[in-house]
């Protein structure tokens, strides 16, 4: 016999809303990178316009989670789930912020000539977005192994970001007139590296929810 039906329905709703939040944050990142690739400022506008909706949904999810903590006094895996949702929610909101930051940089780059830079922003974006998607797939499936595989991907994103820093710094020294474009690209690479960090956080929260193990900061406390 099913028990705590209302609570279970509320948990389902919480999950559904978080996935909606995830969809919005992912879309914002994709749009910001599309804006970078095409230098289409109208796409930047779409990113800016999506931010209030993401922020609103963040508050709604937090409120629902708070209500469930207060009214249902969840325990064990339910408690870990709600705690994870609260944390993932904050990380997704920050992913949305990174998309806005990228769109701001793209808009600034519009004032300068579009030149080839020694950094593959779309590839970096593809990798960090893949991390987010995989971490969220782990959340959807309650799959800690899948979430675990995200953690290893972060090193690759960090390496690409470091390589971008080295290459763009050299270019600034060689051609100081390209400094504005190089700095904007550097910041975008850094924003995408942060997206990877948020994906790592999300993956760690999935592991915490499913296994009850705290693997943050390379610790493993079960």
């Amino acid at each position: 016999m099913a028990t705590r039906i209302k609570f279970q329905l509320n948990l389902d709703e919480l999950k559904e809303r978080l996935l909606m939040m995830a969809g919005m944050a992912e879309q914002a990142i994709q749009r910001s990178i599309e804006a970078y690739r095409t230098r289409d400022l109208s796409i930047c506008e779409l990113v800016f316009r999506s931010e209030p909706a993401i922020n609103r949904l963040e508050r709604e999810i937090d409120q629902l989670a708070l209500d469930l903590l207060a009214m249902e006094q969840p325990m064990a895996i339910d408690l870990r789930f709600i705690l994870s949702v609260i944390r993932i929610n904050a990380d997704l909101e920050r992913v949305g912020d990174q998309a806005v930051n990228i769109a701001v940089r793209v808009r600034e780059m519009g004032a300068f000539a579009n030149i080839d830079l020694p950094v593959d922003i779309p590839r970096l974006a593809s990798l960090s977005s893949a991390m987010v998607r995989k971490a969220l797939q782990g959340f959807i499936e309650a799959n800690a192994e899948l979430a675990q595989s995200v953690l290893a991907m972060d090193d690759q994103v960090d390496e690409m970001n470091d390589a971008a820093f080295t290459a763009l710094s050299s270019l600034i020294r060689e051609k100081p007139e390209l400094t504005p474009q190089c700095l904007n690209a550097l910041i975008i690479a850094r924003n995408l590296e942060r997206v990877g960090d948020h994906a790592t956080n999300i993956a760690e929260d999935v592991i915490f929810w499913v296994r009850g193990a705290d693997v943050r900061h390379k610790s493993s406390v079960a």
Partner: protein, 252 residues
Amino acid sequence: MGVGIDVEHLNAWYGSTHTLQDINLNIPANHATALIGPSGCGKSTFVRCLNRMHETNPIARATGVVKMGEVDIYMDASPVEIRRRVGMVFQRPNPFPTMSIYDNVASGLKLNGFRNKAILDETVERSLKAAALWEEVKDDLKKKSGASLSGGQQQRMCIARALAVDPEVLLMDEPASALDPVSTSKIEDLIFQLKSQYTIVIVTHNMQQAARVAENTGFFLNGKMVEFSSTDMIFTNPKDKRTEDYITGRFG
């Protein structure tokens, strides 16, 4: 001071019903230990085995070892002696209705032959203070009957009565289940304060209460101890699926 309790291979029966099955457990001294589980799981029987109350039922029996410190309570001590060392508080306060507050608290000592008024006065005051009731009743000690107090006050008076005989262990069988939230909170505060001097074992159906008051928690199911661990582990990351199903309310 409290004393640790070691339980080894404890089995208990009511008639032919095997109500406790091979319980092994170490209850640390001066800690609060909570026992949770559905009705009929054996947790109340278990605490009644800790002060030999279980055997007061003619069809009941128990086997195994229960040690309080170095004393095997079934081999080395009489039931009377054990019940002096182990105080008990029940679900519903059970004051002696015709007795004053003073006599209720002093009753255990008087039964044990204490007649010295100064010692009785001192013990009643100390016990009522320890039970956080002194300030509320000190002017009516001999004027009011124990039964005239509110439910929460009666329960604290019963705790004072249990403390008056200077036990080492305090067993509490759902001590706050009949009380309102304010009285419940007072009992929980009391448990927090008392465990520095006594070993406390509390049976409760209220899992938030177990989480609030106890350092360790045991989960009973169908006469067996399914899981015993630190309270934070039991309520955040239990190891046994049955524990998780129970505390998340998914039994059914």
